[in-house]
Amino acid sequence: MSYIRKPAFQHPNLPKNEIGLTRRDYEGAMSTLCAGCGHDSVSAAIIEACYALGVEPHRLAKLSGIGCSSKTPTYFLSKSHGFNSVHGRMPSIATGASMANTGLKYIGVSGDGDSASIGLGQFAHAIRRQVNMLYIIENNGTYGLTKGQFSATNDRASVGRKGQKNQFDPIDICSLAIQLGASFVARGFSGDKAQLVPLIESGMAHEGFALIDVVSPCVTFNNHLGSTKSFDFVREHNNAVMATDFVPAREQIHAEYDKGEAVDVQLHDDCTIRLRKLDDDYDPTDRASALKYLADHHDRGEVVTGLLHVDTGIENLRDKAQLVDQPLNELVERDLVPSQALLDEVNQRRRW
């Protein structure tokens, strides 16, 4: 349906955000995914989050690999830069881009095939390096574009559309990310936009690698009875451990909460994530207990959602590489050519 153009007309009284843009300004082309696809809800959530944050579209780059999920950047933020790259290689392209231009925000959109199979290595290393980006995995447990093969995140108990048995245990993306040191790990559900939007806002404000694994059912190949990635199954087994509110810097916090009920996590640019525990046993700042909780509840057939782990005290890749504040692509000859004195010093070490 990419040939169907959305009308350019906008109602003059549409609400505007702080930089004077409407929600429509953050939309993209008409989706070509199947009607009812979970991924379209994720695109809508991204649009909502970027509108609410007042993101300047041209200061944002969206990157993706290959797969249904990776097609979605066309369907949101059409006024942003994008790169729909090759299968499983988006993490390294995003790593390179984020080093060359630290001035942009980067959103990576990937799927379970893209990140848990062909690109698992790259995905792991982007986490390990703490690339400064929001990385969304639209996880449906199946290869939609190639017509419904099991993916590596499909639960062992989850059967195929025609009753095929899945013989292998799944890779749990969130557990893997926590284990690898991701500093922001959340799981959302495409059927719960109220939960997802503040997670996306928080992830974009986080300085470091922010992962959101969104269970996003495939209505065509993996939404049947017996699938653990169907809308019905996830709704029934959703265990939201943490409610998340995103409080932008410009808003004063007025509401008072009882002590212990809410925890504020301060982000770098004075934004705040306000967490409210829905399960007293859960501690999002403790990696080991988070991992145990995820494993235990997965075994019970639950889908644990919410902000699962957050650590704001990390050093991201830009810090590790000691990059200058100015984006590398803006440096000119004057900045780049070392002084004669410095060259002499370097050369002196190599001569006698």
Partner: protein, 656 residues
């Protein structure tokens, strides 16, 4: 070439055709040179071989550096065992360095060795077996094995020693460890400096220059280590003065410009810096890694990023990401890594992102010969990638050319928004020689990318109908927003599967290569512009081929050579050059079938890679000669192959 084993010439030109020789430096005459005993030479090839870890490589490199300091033209070739720590005294474990030094600049490692220093007879046998020593070669050998407590070792040594003498080698025994023991407790460490001292005396080098070289290579160690090694160097020098009656003097070459001694990988690294690419992505791979290491070392001072990626694919994709975001990047690899990068190289071609890929070729296929040279990736570089992936392929023909090739590559990559592959190889990577110190030229720097707002509705792929070129917008550039894709796309970068759109996209990407071709200069012929045979080569074989051509011409053969820097596209005018010769033959360091095998005929013969390209493009019956021994081609080997091809008749008309 003219390196016959030296007759004992008494202070006179070794070769009457050579230019007049300058007098030996004053210092040497005063120090110890015994007039009447030194043999004046135009050039010599020296090898130092030992077990791995005994320091022959360091000795050889130092010897080469000192020779360069003395004003000689030099070229060093590493002798590398396959394993990091092969067993001691094993034939397979021979490790060391070959140094060719001459009274003129040299362009290749030359033929067989004239003098060899061996730390044991087994590593020496390796070089004998491989035919790397000239008949009558001077052999300086550690003789502690003669009295080894293990009878078998002593017997093996004696047997080999006698055999070498019987075969006509000029063998001299050196009591290296015995002598070293007079100065140090552990002669295993440091006898390479004793050997260096011996060589410095044999080649009439200034001992003070040698002392400085030793102090330099141990600069990071404490002064006791420096002093001890200098003492061993002096001991070797003194021992040779007293006990050895061979001395050679190779006058300095006529070099006036300041020189730097570097290998091809450092030249690549310097080229990366000079071109203004401060972002390099790599994954460790032999023999390419040292280029990135050099950059990493220097970037620590002058600024820049060397990204060690998780794999070769990620390294290439990182570089593409950086180039996409507006900072042109390079990725440096070797064959197996280059194979892995094909996927993302094709992405850069499709999305028209500038990228420089350096492939330091090694023997293949698969893991192949990781430390050894081959020119096996030419066709792969030109035609790798599924679908039509037009890109630029160029090859560096020498160490200095490694430097300039990278600068050219970046400018082409950014001008044409495409991938430029620079092919070097293992022989260039590790060979060291003095080259003229480059003088910075502001033309080297690519102009900064225009990041001003582009007109609203400007198209990201507004391909020019004639040249295929389009202005590129980078992320962050106002109004330049578009979504790049590896899928077929139209001028707006929208995914498009329409027949005409795909046709237009492929045409435009292909036209860029033709447009570049219009800017290339016709390469010049080495030798006369017509004759019996034209040898065509590419890459690191240039020096050896041209030396062979000189030799053949001196024999009266009407042979010339042509060396190609741009392989894809090829410059205009090459067809006309080829047509001026009775025969055309490529000389390459890669595989080609030989008619000597009965099953091979004109219908099934697989040609060398450049020969395929020339045959296909010019419809000329180009022959080829090649070998894949993992060694740089020797001038004399080429001479022999060409002589055989030309036969006895001096003029053989067209036809093969």
């Amino acid at each position: 070439m003219n390196t016959q084993f030296p007759e004992t010439l008494q202070q006179g030109p070794a070769d009457v055709t050579s230019p007049p020789l300058p007098a030996a430096p004053e210092g040497i005459a005063r120090a110890s040179r015994q007039p009447g005993k030194s043999v004046f030479l135009n050039e010599h090839i020296v090898e130092i071989v030992s077990d791995s870890g005994e320091g022959a490589q360091r000795c050889g490199q130092s010897f080469g550096s000192i020779a360069a300091r003395m004003g000689n033209g030099t070229w060093t070739v590493e002798i590398i065992p396959a394993e990091i720590q092969p067993p001691a005294r094993s034939i397979a474990g021979a490790s060391g360095n070959r140094v060719r030094l001459a009274s003129r600049p040299v362009t290749n490692g030359g033929d067989e060795a004239d003098l060899v220093v061996a730390f044991n007879e087994q590593v020496l046998l390796k070089r004998v077996q491989e035919g790397e020593l000239k008949p009558g070669c001077v052999v300086l050998i550690e003789n502690k094995w003669r009295t080894d407590r293990n009878d078998e070792i002593a017997a093996t040594y004696l047997r080999t020693f006698d055999r070498l003498i019987a075969d006509g080698y000029d063998v001299h025994e050196i009591p290296m460890e015995v002598e070293c023991l007079r100065y140090v407790d552990n002669p295993g460490r440091g006898k390479n400096m004793f050997a260096l001292g011996v060589l410095c005396h044999v080649y009439c080098f200034d001992l003070q220059v040698a002392r400085k070289q030793v102090a330099f290579i141990f600069a990071k160690k404490d002064s006791a280590v420096v002093d001890s090694n200098i003492r061993l160097l002096e001991a070797g020098y003194e021992w040779a003065e007293t006990n050895l009656d061979i001395r050679f003097y190779i006058p300095p070459s006529d070099v006036s410009k300041p020189q730097i001694v570097i290998n091809g990988n450092i030249a690549v690294g310097l080229g990366v810096m000079a071109s203004g690419m401060e972002v390099c992505a790599m994954y460790p791979i032999t023999p390419a890694t040292s280029a990135s290491h050099y950059l990493s070392d220097v970037f620590a001072n002058v600024g820049g990023v060397v990204h060690q990626a998780e794999d070769e694919i990620a390294a290439c994709a990182f570089a593409i990401g950086s180039s996409y975001a507006g900072k042109c990047a390079v990725t440096i690899t070797s064959g197996p890594g280059f194979a892995l990068k094909q996927e993302t190289i094709a992405l850069a071609v499709m999305a028209e992102i500038p990228l420089v890929v350096v492939n330091v070729q090694r023997g293949g296929p698969s893991t192949g010969l990781p430390t050894k040279v081959e020119q096996g990736d030419l066709l792969f570089a030109c035609f790798g990638g599924h679908g039509d992936t037009p890109k630029v392929v160029m090859a560096a023909s020498g160490i200095e050319d490694c430097f300039y090739s990278i600068i050219t590559a970046r400018k082409i990559a950014e001008t044409f928004n495409t991938v430029v592959v620079v092919l070097t190889d293992a022989s260039l990577a590790s060979a060291q020689q003095p080259i003229p110190k480059p003088e910075i030229d502001t033309d080297w720097f690519a102009p900064p990318i225009d990041q001003n707002a582009v007109p609203i509705d400007a198209k990201p792929y507004d391909w020019d109908a004639t040249t295929g070129l389009a202005q590129r917008f980078i992320p962050g550039q106002p109004n330049g927003m578009h979504c790049l894709t590896g899928l077929a796309h139209d001028r707006l970068s929208h995914v498009a599967y329409e027949p005409e759109t795909n046709q237009e996209g492929l045409r435009s990407r292909s036209l860029k290569i033709a447009t570049l071709q219009k800017t290339l200069k016709t390469p010049t012929v080495f030798g006369e512009s017509d004759g019996e045979m034209l040898i065509v080569g590419w890459g690191s074989t240039k020096g050896a081929i041209e030396e062979a051509v000189e030799c053949l011409r001196a024999e009266g053969r009407r042979v010339s050579s042509l060396h190609l820097k741009f392989l894809h596209p090829m410059a205009a005018g090459i067809r006309e050059i080829l047509q001026c010769f009775d025969q055309v033959m490529t000389i390459e360091n890669n595989w080609s079938d030989s008619y000597e095998n009965d099953v091979i005929d004109a219908d099934n013969r697989r040609y060398s890679e450049l020969a395929w390209l020339l045959r296909a493009r010019f419809l000329i019956d180009v022959d080829c000669w090649s070998e894949v021994k993992g060694q740089p081609l020797k001038p004399n080997t080429i001479v022999t192959a060409v002589r055989k091809k030309l036969g006895r008749k001096k003029t053989q008309r067209k036809g093969i």
